[in-house]
Amino acid sequence: MSEADVLVVDKVNAGYGAVPVLRDVDLTVPAGTITAVLGANGAGKTTLLRTITGLVRPSGGRILFSGADLRAVKVEQLVRRGIAHVPEGRGVVAELTVDENLRLGGLWRSDKADAKKATAEVYELFEPLARRRNHLGHQLSGGERQMLALGRALVARPTLLLLDEPSLGLAPKVTAQIMALLKQLRDTTGLTVLLVEQNVRGALSIADRGVVMSLGRIVLSADADQLLADDRLRHAYLGF
């Protein structure tokens, strides 16, 4: 754990009701890096993100963000501290329009002008959204909703971005575009990203580190290049 670690997950246990999911999870995310969280379905990746943002209450352990324990912070305060979480499964408010969804992302910000600018950038990035500004969320296609959820997080201009399978349902071109964007944001603004992905190769291609989860534990944590390069590791942990 060092000064530069913006997020520290320390021996966290969590679960649903009586069912434990996360077991003694330790994870440190240095500022300005992209960490890919990988693992099979049901390994606990989503649960890990939800525990970090307090949607699931940990039964043990600590979660530190810039040194402050997040367990004492209310979920609705996180965005003000610079944490944005794009939940699994297109967290679009289906009854609001595209525009309203994006506005929602920047609501907490006092710099209205910049929020406007950020919105414009999102429209530029996801051109299908620009054509659907006044459509309701539920009218969108699967991929368009995913773009909207992502775009909304970007409007908030976070310092830590938690993404849960952002490539789900997106065309390869858009996925590549997003990966490139994340990389660019990391490099230019120092954004820290915790990226849960099934698209292992895509994720590792931009990530600094890769973390593999299995049965609620972190079973491997390595540099992304190393993971990609080492066939044996890849086979054992990622199955390709």
Binding site: G91, E100, R103, L107
Partner: protein, 292 residues
């Protein structure tokens, strides 16, 4: 013809009453996605407070303010103290708790104030202004219409133009996502309940002078008609509440006037069916949700 004109105006002034109360239902629906069956009982409670104080002070305005403030307080109290703790094992739990609240509130009001009807005084002359020998609307009716219009405009602005309105809507539809976006969902719910109860309370004091008077069940029938009005208009739309209120008001007036008061429930049912079979989400429902 005279009769028709008279009945039309009568229907319009009754419609204002239903519109006022339907607004409260629309508000709570938009803010918390519940049909507040306790809205009537809550309005009765605030009305008792308002009339007791306005009688004591001798000022209508004070009573009006008491209703408004009392409504805010009661709404917040009900949400903070009760609705917040209702489990969502199924969507009906809210309804059942609201029904329990109705029984409780009416009983308590009955204990404190007794079951007698009390006169509900009004600030204005209620004599209808006559045009060509046909009594049309009283100044009090106009006052109601004015109040309803003001509330509709304010609410529409609140919901569509302000950040708070956007937060309230988001919180109602997608609480978890909203929290992640920094919306204090709990506070939005409290606010929604408080506003709805305040609108309901104001509607209550506006309505009571046109009803039998104040008693623990004074809003029972109003609730049923207003619910119908809100549904006809579309529960998501404040304007819909007004249009629904007018439709229900007119139907009741025409049917009582031409066919007898006993038939009005049947007429309301027929209108509800006619409207909803054509537009299952009410007249002002938005685009049909894409399901696949």
């Amino acid at each position: 013809m005279d009769r028709f004109i008279f009945l039309t105006f009568d229907g319009l002034s009754r419609g204002a009453v239903y519109a006022a109360f339907a607004l409260a239902l629309v508000l709570i629906w938009r803010a918390a996605r519940v049909v507040n069956f306790a809205q009537g009982a809550m309005a009765v409670v605030t009305a008792y407070a308002a009339y007791t104080i306005s009688d004591a002070v001798g000022s209508y305005l004070v009573g009006f303010i008491v209703a408004l403030v009392g409504g805010l307080a009661l709404g917040a109290l009900v949400e903070r103290g009760l609705m917040r703790f209702v489990g969502h094992a199924n969507p009906l739990n809210d309804v059942i708790v609201a029904l329990g609240l109705v029984l409780f509130l009416t009983a308590v009001v009955g204990m404190i104030f007794g079951g007698e009807y009390r006169a509900a005084n009004q600030p204005f002359d209620t004599s209808a202004i006559e045009v060509g020998g046909i009594p049309l609307m009283s100044r009090y009716d106009l006052f109601i219409w004015g109040s309803v219009a003001t509330m509709v405009v304010l609410l529409a602005l609140l919901f569509t133009r302000t950040a708070i309105g956007l937060r309230m809507r988001a919180a109602a539809f997608a609480p978890e996502v909203s929290r992640l976006l920094g919306v204090n969902v709990g506070r939005m719910l409290t606010l929604g309940w408080a506003l709805a109860a305040a609108v309901g309370a104001v509607a209550g004091v506006l309505i009571l002078p046109t009803e039998l008077g104040l008693h623990p069940h004074a809003m029972d029938i109003v609730f049923a008609s207003s619910f119908a009005a809100a549904i006809v208009g579309g529960l998501d739309s404040p304007v819909g509440a007004v249009v629904g209120g007018i439709i229900v008001g007119l139907i009741l007036s025409y049917v009582s006037g031409y066919f007898g008061a006993a038939l009005t429930p049947i007429a309301v049912l027929v209108v509800l069916l006619a409207v909803l079979l054509l537009r299952p989400g009410g007249i002002f429902s938005s685009v049909r949700a894409r399901t696949v």
